[in-house]
Subunit: 310 residues, 2 copies
């Protein structure tokens, strides 16, 4: 049983109440607090020693990553974060300087985005460091972007470059908060999320939620320098395109807009964010699943983002 | 360095913003979301295998305790909980039935209090089960009760009975949500919290936040049946009064009101909640620290809730 099957089992019949607009299954929960112009966003995310960072990771970067992942989920809804709580489980023996440095990295990122850190908890976790962040945010009513709104014919876009984030980017990525808000303000985004599980896996989340399929253009997928470099050096376990499709922890925005908006989005983006790539990588199709188009033709992508090369 | 010194170090200069009414240091954070009649409550709390429960604990009770602790913190502010996120770290090998049973216990308690469970996360935690709950709630503007409002002359009250909760009550306590809301609606509560660290330790939190001292009446402190039974059976490490002062995880309400309200509170409480004890256990004094009055006179309580018996 993989993580997604487990989550499916656990979220089949969760308690609800009238305040819930979106419950489990999107980047954030969305709650109606009775405020005329806004909805509340609510998110938790954890990083664990040995899974999301190693004993050698600089503590500032652990704190940065812990909060950054949650901020990226608020970005995926086109929201604005406001307040965070930090729960940190520590082994029986730990260095105070190390824990303070985790907080320093986290606090610096929080300040940059005007997020208040309003408390939390320290507790014991015998197996290693475990950090869970809870984050609140807001989104203008009617401007939140879910995973479920992709429509046949939509153009699929991704920000930045993908793959090879383990070389370092997974610890110092920029949550695309300003970019997501600008996009939602100026265009009708049909579906959006942040790429955490890998492009192919995350696109599949949009497709499943929207009950559609997609065709990606292999030559259009923006491959990161790290993924190319690893392939050249012979140190990569997979070709650069496969890395871009499946590595994960890119924390870039993946979204769809109506095809008539594709060129206007690109033109306006280049003026607004000249330093960050935005790439149209394919289109939403009827049916289900992902196909990849390249010089040899069109073939299906397998379940976990890997491509079978002939 | 103990937990409280660590928290003090980590919370000295946290990022803030104008929405923060109460940050780190009270039972919940309090945020002003711009809603005229209400403030937002925000809380996280974690339970860890080997610390808050054992490998033998029934999974339903683990889930119950994880959410119950957070609900008790919302109660301590006289608030109403609304939505929770569940982060659960699992060892590499786990039984699905066990995890589903954790959720079943949690969900049952959530339904009883109309709390929506709006998602969360499952992740790996090599050392054992780690559950962090994030909880949102509301409190009417002006009705939230902090730790910092105790005044000299106040009567100190506690609900229920204290001590010996490890015999079982720490896994199936009732968060005092209805009781706290009723109290805040009908009386001017000066300070309140829920007893999680033990009566003496938690009262000290009120005293420190309010810059006052307290005198407790030894004979008035309500000692639980479990603490008395353990003492009789010779299985207790401490006398029943010390257990009531220091065991912790009672999750009862500890609050202060002006002395003129003491008798009205007691009278009204007996009619409203005839099945639950409410006891006046002492009074707020000028100065600092806690003294204990018994037949032999008055003597100070030591720092961690233990009494030196002569």
């Amino acid at each position: 049983m993989n993580e997604f099957e487990l989550i499916h089992r656990l979220t089949r019949s969760l308690p609800t109440n009238p305040s819930v607009v979106v419950g489990a299954g999107d980047d954030c929960a969305v709650l109606d607090a009775g405020i005329p112009d806004r909805l509340l966003l609510f998110k938790t995310d954890a990083v664990v020693e040995g899974v999301h960072f190693t004993p050698e990771t600089a503590p500032e970067k652990i704190g940065y990553k812990a909060l950054g992942r949650c901020l990226s989920d608020i970005a995926a809804m086109a929201g604005t974060p406001t307040a965070a709580l930090v729960t940190i489980g520590l082994p029986g023996i730990f260095k105070l300087d190390f824990v303070e440095a985790i907080y320093a990295g986290l606090n610096e990122l929080a300040r940059r985005h005007q997020v208040a850190v309003v408390g939390g908890e320290t507790t014991t976790n015998p197996g290693g460091i475990f950090i869970s962040i809870a984050l609140l945010g807001w989104v203008p009513r009617g401007k939140g972007v879910l995973r479920s709104g992709a429509e046949v014919g939509d153009a699929i876009f991704v920000t930045g470059e993908l793959g090879g984030s383990l070389a370092g980017r997974h610890l110092d990525f920029e949550p695309r908060l300003a970019e997501a808000r600008w996009l939602a303000q100026h265009f009708s985004l049909h579906a959006m999320l942040d790429v955490s599980d890998g492009l192919a896996g995350d696109l599949r989340h949009i497709l499943t939620a929207s009950r559609v399929g997609a065709e990606l253009l292999a030559s259009a997928i923006p491959i990161s320098r790290e993924a190319r470099r690893a392939a050249k050096a012979g140190s990569a376990a997979k070709p650069p395109l496969v890395a871009a499709l499946s590595d994960g922890e890119d924390f870039e925005l993946l979204f769809t807009v109506a095809s008539r908006d594709a060129v206007p989005v690109l033109d306006a983006w280049k003026k607004q964010f000249p330093g960050l790539a935005l790439t149209c990588i394919g289109k939403i199709k009827a049916g289900e699943g992902i196909t990849l188009r390249d010089k040899q033709g069109v073939r299906p992508l397998t379940a976990h983002g890997y491509v079978h090369f002939s």
